[in-house]
Amino acid sequence: MAGVTQDQDTIAEEMGMHTIPLRGRDIKTMFRVETEGGYGYPFAKDVDFNKRAEIDCEGKGCTFVNKRIRELMDEGHGTIVLKNPGAQHSLVVGILNRLNIIIDGSLGYFGCGLLDGPNVRISGRVGWSFGENMMAGTAIVEKNAGSTFGAALRGGDLVCRRSAGSRTGIDQKGGTIIVGGDTGAFSGFMMQRGRMVICGNAGKNLGDSMYDGTIYVGGEIQDLGVDAVQGDLTDADRAWLTRKLKMYELLPKKGVEHFTKIVAGKQLWNYDNLEPTEKKIIL
């Protein structure tokens, strides 16, 4: 608290104000690894995958449908089928639970955002920003996806069996995006972590300004963006690709040997300007 007198400093401290040094801003919390906990968040709903329910979305807004999903989870339903979604926007968002969701139709913009755990299967198409900020779980789209598919993805597997639009995986921070067909321009733009697999062709400026992460392309790459460079496909890459693509029935008959690996050229790396550790938990 520069520029104040000692008296003012004392008064300020007595009032509860104090200077916080920029160094060593640690929050130390004790935690025992033996602490009992389940496999789900303590606040997660206890659901049974074998208990199934349906929601007919016809004529109902996204607020009603999203609320109804939560009510069904409260009742213990672990498998929920959405009928007639009618390409509505913002359906199935913010679910922090294990759950099976089956969507019989197509979704509009911002579908399945902020998911943390569920397994979602969509029989139709999806609009812009499907799976945005997803944390964990799986989401499989049987047909095409719009632009910014998997924007800011943080974890989990996001699969589009056909083609996805431009800026697929923009600002991806983790997780896996798999596109069975082609992707548009600027896919992997500002990617920071995670893996993207494009079984078909990639559009212009692939991996532009990517900071980290890996992009695998099975087809042609129109061109690479700034600081995206070709890497060596290792045995670990081949094993991972084979396992993952087989899991989603997208493994090409000729295998994965033809895939091109794209990584960051690391010319844009600037980790030194990161803030030091802000919080620490001591086990």
Binding site: V33, Y41, G117, T138, D237, E278
Partner: protein, 134 residues
């Protein structure tokens, strides 16, 4: 194994040994910047632990899913795992013996992270009570 600024990590204990402050920024703040390990290392499923196998089955997944991105990092000269839910590092206890290779250390980190996140003592529990609106 690739490491910080693309350098090679030849010794798995490289970040645990000595005062290994490298960059100017690290010297200024007097501590390691934790993001120095290979974040692109894919998991070795032969090393999966029974606890993690149970977690995968409980969630209804076929593999480690989001945990594929979890690795044992090294923060401030100590082994630690990053918890995205609190935006902070969880330090591994001093008395916990670390395996001698990174893939096994990563499995250990994944198990510790899940146990921590699913614990009723996790800070997210209080945040959830205070702020969750849906």
């Amino acid at each position: 194994m690739a490491g910080y600024k693309g350098s090679d990590i030849e010794d798995v204990d490289q970040f645990l040994k000595g005062d290994d402050l490298q960059s100017e920024r690290e010297k200024t703040i007097g501590q390691h910047i934790g993001y120095r390990y290979d974040v692109n290392l894919v998991p070795d499923y032969d090393l999966i632990t029974p606890f993690l196998q149970g977690y995968i089955e409980f969630m209804g997944w076929d593999d480690l899913n989001w945990l594929e991105d979890i690795h044992l990092g090294y923060d401030d000269g100590k082994p630690a795992v990053f918890d995205r839910n609190i935006n902070g590092w969880i330090a591994i206890p001093d008395d916990m013996k670390l395996p001698d290779n990174q893939p096994e250390r990563d499995m250990l980190a994944r198990e510790i992270l899940i146990k921590f996140q699913m614990s009723p003592d996790h800070p997210l529990v209080d945040l959830n009570k205070a702020y969750r609106s849906f």
